[in-house]
Subunit: 345 residues, 4 copies
Amino acid sequence: MKSQIKICMIGAGRVGKNHSRAITRHVPSGKIVALVDPVIPVRNETAKEFGIESEFDTLEQAIGKIDFDAVIITTPTPTHLPLTALAAENGKHVFLEKPMALNIDECDEINRITTQHGILLQLGFMRRFDPEFVAAAARIEAGEIGQPMMVKSLTHGPGLPPPWARDLKTSNGMLAEVNSHDWDSTRWLMGSNYERVYTEVANFKGAANNIDTPNFYDNVLVNIKFESGGLGMISGVCPCGYGYDARVEIIGEKGIMQIGELQGQAVVVCTNRDQGLITPIFRTWPERFIWGYIYEMEHFVSCIQTDTKPKAGAEEGRWAVAGVLAGTRSFLEQRPVYLKEILGS
Amino acid sequence: MKSQIKICMIGAGRVGKNHSRAITRHVPSGKIVALVDPVIPVRNETAKEFGIESEFDTLEQAIGKIDFDAVIITTPTPTHLPLTALAAENGKHVFLEKPMALNIDECDEINRITTQHGILLQLGFMRRFDPEFVAAAARIEAGEIGQPMMVKSLTHGPGLPPPWARDLKTSNGMLAEVNSHDWDSTRWLMGSNYERVYTEVANFKGAANNIDTPNFYDNVLVNIKFESGGLGMISGVCPCGYGYDARVEIIGEKGIMQIGELQGQAVVVCTNRDQGLITPIFRTWPERFIWGYIYEMEHFVSCIQTDTKPKAGAEEGRWAVAGVLAGTRSFLEQRPVYLKEILGS
Amino acid sequence: MKSQIKICMIGAGRVGKNHSRAITRHVPSGKIVALVDPVIPVRNETAKEFGIESEFDTLEQAIGKIDFDAVIITTPTPTHLPLTALAAENGKHVFLEKPMALNIDECDEINRITTQHGILLQLGFMRRFDPEFVAAAARIEAGEIGQPMMVKSLTHGPGLPPPWARDLKTSNGMLAEVNSHDWDSTRWLMGSNYERVYTEVANFKGAANNIDTPNFYDNVLVNIKFESGGLGMISGVCPCGYGYDARVEIIGEKGIMQIGELQGQAVVVCTNRDQGLITPIFRTWPERFIWGYIYEMEHFVSCIQTDTKPKAGAEEGRWAVAGVLAGTRSFLEQRPVYLKEILGS
Amino acid sequence: MKSQIKICMIGAGRVGKNHSRAITRHVPSGKIVALVDPVIPVRNETAKEFGIESEFDTLEQAIGKIDFDAVIITTPTPTHLPLTALAAENGKHVFLEKPMALNIDECDEINRITTQHGILLQLGFMRRFDPEFVAAAARIEAGEIGQPMMVKSLTHGPGLPPPWARDLKTSNGMLAEVNSHDWDSTRWLMGSNYERVYTEVANFKGAANNIDTPNFYDNVLVNIKFESGGLGMISGVCPCGYGYDARVEIIGEKGIMQIGELQGQAVVVCTNRDQGLITPIFRTWPERFIWGYIYEMEHFVSCIQTDTKPKAGAEEGRWAVAGVLAGTRSFLEQRPVYLKEILGS
């Protein structure tokens, strides 16, 4: 088994900070040795906060100057393929944030190139490492609720996404940026691939936020038919304002299972009987999935140490992208879209 | 104001018993003076349990023999129009169980004939009288969560419906028999009509139950686009086995609201730390909506006493039927269906 | 079996109104035929609200003028013995609000006189009829949590009690007026009598409310040793301001059981992630125990109809008074007090 | 600021393992360089699990052989004074598990010797670092519920304690071993010292477990009067079997606050409507207070790095011991005991 794994973090923004915190404070078997970001003030701040000693504008520069085993890619979706390719060609293992890529061809190319170079690829589906999701999946697998018949998964987030993340051309929009996790979780928990999807979207806050991006939406509801015959629903709302909300309900032939809750902390207060009880809500995704983020990083480092294929890889990333593309085409064309239209038969 | 209202209950089965209990024990301003049902043992049992003095095979017979102000119709959907017509022609006010009818023409005829005879018509949408739904609707109306953007409403019921209620021809199936309440509630809470719907269904338990009815399904997920631009989801599972489950979530521009819960009673027990906490669930609809059933009967009686139009009438019943028909056509034709296809433009 | 039971309600205030509502709207086998209260405006209002046809200043006057089977006594504690005696001597069954009396002698006299006249006596311990308490007691009885080892029962109420109810001389104070239910419930659920009690009290709001009654307290904590060897805690806070709060936890040899909750309605809202979830709380006792009040009245009427001894009678009332007296002596003398000091050996 | 702090862990059992895990995995600024325990198999196992390189039978041996900044003492209470003294005399900072000591003299000696040698002393009150307790304390401090009037704190644990921990002579029994945290938390949250306490105990499971230790008890209820005039209740049950349960309720002049809950994970399942919902419970203390354990270790290391006095030190430890001693004397002598009897005036 390899000793401590050396990592180059790519992207010093919110996600990069979040993963840096997880590794630096909670994953002693990994060490961030370099930080890549062309925006220097942000990079300096993140590097300082987590004691990262080397900083670079680009991955190319880092590769030339410093020794490391792996990269963590947290930059916008269009960068995923070129950065992964560069890393793979230099023998660096890759942790790639969701969504995997903008289209299936890019997914296939990422898969091809990492396979060709014998590189481990892990996708950033932290819900697969969240203790509640993990326990739920194990209990479903063990048959506790019987064959899954229906799943409902929601992700509602508080803040307005940046422009690139709400433009279909640069990101595939909310279905990709917010709901990638739901695409992956529903497929995982149902134990089945999607057969077809139908999507409705709505735009309630665009005007107030001066958003004139074509096809912008801030609410989405997807109806899924799985290959197993089961049904699924994904909902996305962003910005929702009220907190960070990620919950799943699954109905199986034998019963129901709920994963997650709104309550973010068990401190309940009442000081006014006309108002009622007040309970903290989850405010942000780093708070809700703190253990998921820690455990996915532990898993990545451990997979490198033991040369093991990560639990969430190219296959999972590609299916989530396929769902996003089918879902997007559905609302654009106002009809159900089969996954085979996206993936070929 | 009229004094005590005399009622003829039509149907001595589960729903007839439930309404008889509500009136006899909790609505002193109403009195059931006659019970109509051709199945004599059931009728005798119900009459005895609630002290109903006169029994008849048919409404015709009751009208000839006894004085009353109103009927409550709890018999299968195909009987709704002829019974309502007979009651109206004889000047009896009508409480009609959901769904209103099998098709829009029947709904229109029910509306026409009750209007023509100056008869009050109340539909059996008891959720409009449930204290939680009522409080929620008032708070939405008051703007607490802002403009509603998305609603999700589910009804999952424990028992296999009788053959007539799962055959599209005789009942329009689960979307009508189980989810009529969701159709009404989502429209009510969103404050908007449906524009189009898309539906997926699944059949997981039909074979095990020897059901060969064409197009039988036991799981349904509807995706709704409202005229307001808002989105909606309705789910139905029946039989679900695990209990009676009726909950709603609404996301508005300012926040989220949840109505209802799984917990049926605040008695929590833990005797085994490997199993965990055990809490009673709502087992049946009479238990979950006990106050809704009481208050809808109070309302009906009070409307007759004061000659007031009931809160849930022909308009509400007709829209729910329209939703059912659009939803059914959608899964049969695998495409989104506009309400104007059902209702005309 | 007797037909409808005719009742004379004594006291037209909050408790009288509450019981009148329960009977008039939800207990068709009972009828309030007379209302007794010397305060005419309140009496007129209550009589009008519940359609009570005869009104009197005193029970004596009612007895002379009108026919009835039973009385419901809701007036202050010092009136309990004389009113019960008068009713019993005139052959009227008695529903008596808690606390039974001011001291053990009065309890004994109430018991003697009702027994002598063959009168049914029911005490107003509505928690014995609350569906949650009833289910909990049955499950404990069935052995679900094993032999009860420890019980904690609390009653915290929102409003400042009237002067007579906070003066030890006229009411025995909060331990009697607020916590009588806890005394009864803990004894019932533990299946054992009290052996000794120790009490601490505090006065936090008296000064702000200009209360100079000697020994006034607004917080109380009682520590109980049961004859079974088990332990108990009773807490009282009044006025607590935040709502009406009545909950119990019991730990048995096999596990824990919780009865009741703070949440008064399953409507949860979040519109501000810095504030969190807001859920209604129970605001008042009539709201929290609405079914307990209905069922205790049904029980009283049914016991009269079938000549059956009520579930909560003289024995239960006397033990609760004994607990109050022991608890009060304890904080006055700052020492544990044995029940045998109160009851004799 | 000092760089990484080197720690000698004393005790390789459950608590030693728990703290070793917290430091090794989640506190990168600390490093366990030595493990002391005379029981070699357990020591070897713990050392191996957490990669601790040096092992010793005694602290004396470690001090002679290896360089470190601090010790963490997790061994039984009678060892606390001599081990702290030895560490202090050698200039090692001390993290000392609760309870601080067996009596006030030992507490005073621990305080004297650490002060004399300028040694930092932190007591193992991890609830002071639990995010829920911390948030609650801050909100109380900010006045959200007004002046605290009453506090109830419980700790119920699943397993039978070892013989030394249930013998009053060697450990002061459950009030010390299980409820030390409640003593500290109630004093902290009420913002006041204890004035007097009254205690009742019960022994329900001793016989079945063949325990003949004098004065053994497995249930305890303490009634506290604070110097502020406020009231408090502490309950302990061990073994309780049903899980690990640690919750607090505080009532202030303006409202109520609840800290903690029974639910250990938000995964709710129902497969049987006659059984109801099943939710995981907290099973163990390391699970319930995982963040408390991490943050108290971070705090200890950080205090050493910055030469800052820890939040929970000699004062807090001494008061908790005083509460234990007063509580124990109370049930032995069946009377309320003033803290001044324990501490002198």
